[in-house]
């Protein structure tokens, strides 16, 4: 068996040269800013980002994800970065594992991340990740997105995002259980595939202790925000 694997490896190395200098699986890089938007939050205009980047080949990639929010005139309110190894395990699914660092709010938190990302039947884009943090903290995040094509270029995209935590964390303002849920609806126009401005509306709600913490700090536990931004990739 080992021998066969070695042979396959040798062939893989030679093989790409055999096809007339063509490599079927080139090393590629992609940056994808899914959201870069301004939203009319209750306490001023907020800038929200949600971006990903990957580098690698068909089945194995290094994957970076970052999302966060910054209120205008203030520092970053929320922000995290994930570094994941992504491996294709099924035709439409990648298994992703790595590390997440929440650099805002203070104090920062670190998590092991393990999740799946892919395209579910009926064409729902799903990203579901479980996290294990310090002192036995656990968390889960789910995002589901769908695309409805009004035309070839005008696309309506409903989205659901939610976060769950196993323990209250007063310092970072999250309570156990379902902490927050957001429903978004964005309408984008793809001027070219790589660039699409959009407008949309985003409703979010904090639940349980998370809501309590937010209110105790004088914030809201729920809001409807209008957003405008653009999507970009290359």
């Amino acid at each position: 068996m080992k021998k066969i694997k070695m042979m396959m490896l040798a062939l893989a190395v030679n093989g790409s040269a055999v096809a007339g200098g063509m490599n079927d699986d080139p090393f590629l890089f992609m940056l994808k800013v899914d959201k870069l938007e301004l939203s009319d939050a209750a306490d001023g205009t907020a800038m929200v980002w949600d971006a990903q980047a990957w580098a690698g080949k068909d089945l194995n990639k290094l994957w970076l994800k970052s999302e966060g929010e910054k209120l205008s005139g203030e520092g970053t309110e929320e922000g995290n970065l994930e570094i994941l190894y992504s491996r294709a395990v099924a035709p439409f699914w990648d298994l992703q594992a790595g590390w997440r660092h929440d650099f805002r709010p203070d104090p920062d938190r670190d998590w092991f991340a393990f999740g799946v990302k892919g395209l579910a039947p009926y064409l729902f884009e799903v990203d579901a990740t479980a996290y294990i943090g310090e002192s036995g903290r656990m968390a889960a995040a789910l995002s589901v997105e769908y695309e409805y094509m009004f035309t070839q270029k005008l696309i309506l995209s409903p989205e659901l995002e939610m976060n769950l935590y196993s323990k209250d964390d007063e310092e970072t303002g999250v309570g156990s259980g379902l902490s927050d849920l957001a429903l978004g609806l964005r309408l984008r126009y793809e001027i070219v595939r790589e660039f699409a401005p959009y407008i949309g509306v985003n409703w979010w709600n904090k639940f349980g202790k998370t809501a309590d913490y937010a209110e105790a700090e004088g914030g809201d536990s729920s809001d409807v925000e209008f957003v405008a931004g653009f999507r970009l990739w290359f």
Binding site: G20, G21, A90, Y148, F150, T151
Partner: protein
Amino acid sequence: MSPSRRRFVQGMAMGGMAASLGLTSRSLWANVEQQQKIPTLTGTEFDLAIGEQVVNFTGTPRIATTVNASLPAPILRWKEGDTVTLRVKNNLPETSSIHWHGIILPSSQDGVPNISDGFSGIAPGTTHTYQFKLVQSGTYWYHSHSGFQEQTGLYGPIIVDPLEPEPFTYDRDYVVMLSDWTDEDPTVVYAKLKKLSHYYNFNERTHKDLMKDLKEKGLARTWSERKMWMQMRMSQRDLADVTGYTYTYLMNGQTPADGWTGLFRKGEKIRLRFINGSAMSFFDVRIPGLKMTVVAADGQYVQPVSVDEFRIGVAETYDVIVEPDEAAYSIFAQSIDRSGYARGTLTPDPAMTAEVPAMDPVPDLTHMDMGMDMSGMGHSMHDMGGMNMKGMDHGKMQMGGMDMKGMDHGQHQMGGMNMKGMDHGKMQMGGMDMNGMDHGQHQMADMKRKPVHPSDFSSGKVIHAPTEYGPHVDMRAQAPQYRLDDPGVGLRNNGRRVLTYADLKNLRGTNDPREPDREIQLHLTGNMERYMWSVNGVKFANAEPLRWKMGERLRITFVNDTMMNHPMHLHGMWSDLETGDNDFIPRKHTVIVQPGSRISYRVTVDAEGGWAYHCHLLYHMLGMFREVQVS
């Protein structure tokens, strides 16, 4: 359509100069002939120089890869029986090669780097000499087998004139070479497909189509028709990976804005040698107002068949004969996904032009194209696309009392049936027992044809290899059928007589009447979303060569486990395509395997050495490729 988009689809108009110079009709004729001619080289000794050349098809200058500064490369006109010598100088900064597509020759002369015996490509600045004897005649072509050079222009026609007189006559002989040009770097095109496989597809079904379906079919049927596609995460409009969004389709190197012009004189019969030299594009070709008599396929004579339209897969060739009246006609070649077209004009007078027809609507793939078992014919008539049952629609046919039990078990075997007779309502089918359909779908066709051996179409059970399961394969056809008589998606029931493989019959009988010694089943596999392509789930880089024995007679059965057409090309040996009559098996070099279907051909293994065997879609062939070793 925005002006810039139109420019890609139409290309730039560069002709029209002659008219403004106020030339007389006679000099205009000469001018058109001169201007639009692909240079022709004849004889037995040829000097070809591969190099870079600035071209401008869209308004933006680009560098193309050319032979003797010509795009398409010069027509090579050879004579059967001659030994030709071709000195090919590579002036590119990278390795190049030329493969003589469809020409039977020793492996060492076939021109595939690192597969053809002793050939590793033509290094920059060096000259390679090819030499081989021509043992065939007909229409073929040549192209680079290195990198993406074929996409950037390295392709040209080959005509081999026969020793024996031809079985048809004509007064004028034109090559019509179709191709696809992009201003983009092909490596960028490939990277885009990997990142977003539908990048170039602007024909997806949208809100408008949904509303139309809901209105016409109601909620329940719309849902049931679309459900499976959504479950499988596939697009019914996945017809072409690379489209008119980036491609400008060319006819003899002319953009649609210019159009190629073929002149004729009153009363002449014209032979048109269609060659699809595209990287990725299938074309549906017709000449409104003219019947085309197909006389050769892939360079080999077939029994003449008169059609209105034919689909030409990448790398295929068809020779047709037309007999125009004294009028102008459009040669119209729309891409399979209707995102653009190449066009030309046949005219007795350069000043006379013909109307360019509108493109057909964008078709939807059906469950049949997915290789589904279509039990329950009630579903919809679309699913039966392969069947030409127009007669039924018009109620011209008497079908009362027909016992159609057999259809329950294998109704899409009917896809293979030639029911043309029904079109004309000439056939009385009342009381006919159709149980026979179970046993061989060609029974109907056989009313007009010789009987076929039942074994021909009862090819082995479809087995999906363990290597077909994994993240690299997104679909396996559950019930792939022979669909020889299916003109294919977009051409079914379009009211025109469309050529199908079932129409192709060798003019002079089967070349090798031996029964196959063994059968090899090859599955065409891939993952559209990840843009990965393979054979039996194993891409070329990981595959062992196929080892064939000199002298054996093989049957290859392809099963297409994808939603796309794949033009499969075997180098060095003929593909004897089983089209329905064992005594008149046509020989091809490139065979379209329709989505979700299967098809079988025989190969007489009579050429020693290493041979390439691959899908001729340029961005598929990197993975969907095998080396064949014959010893």
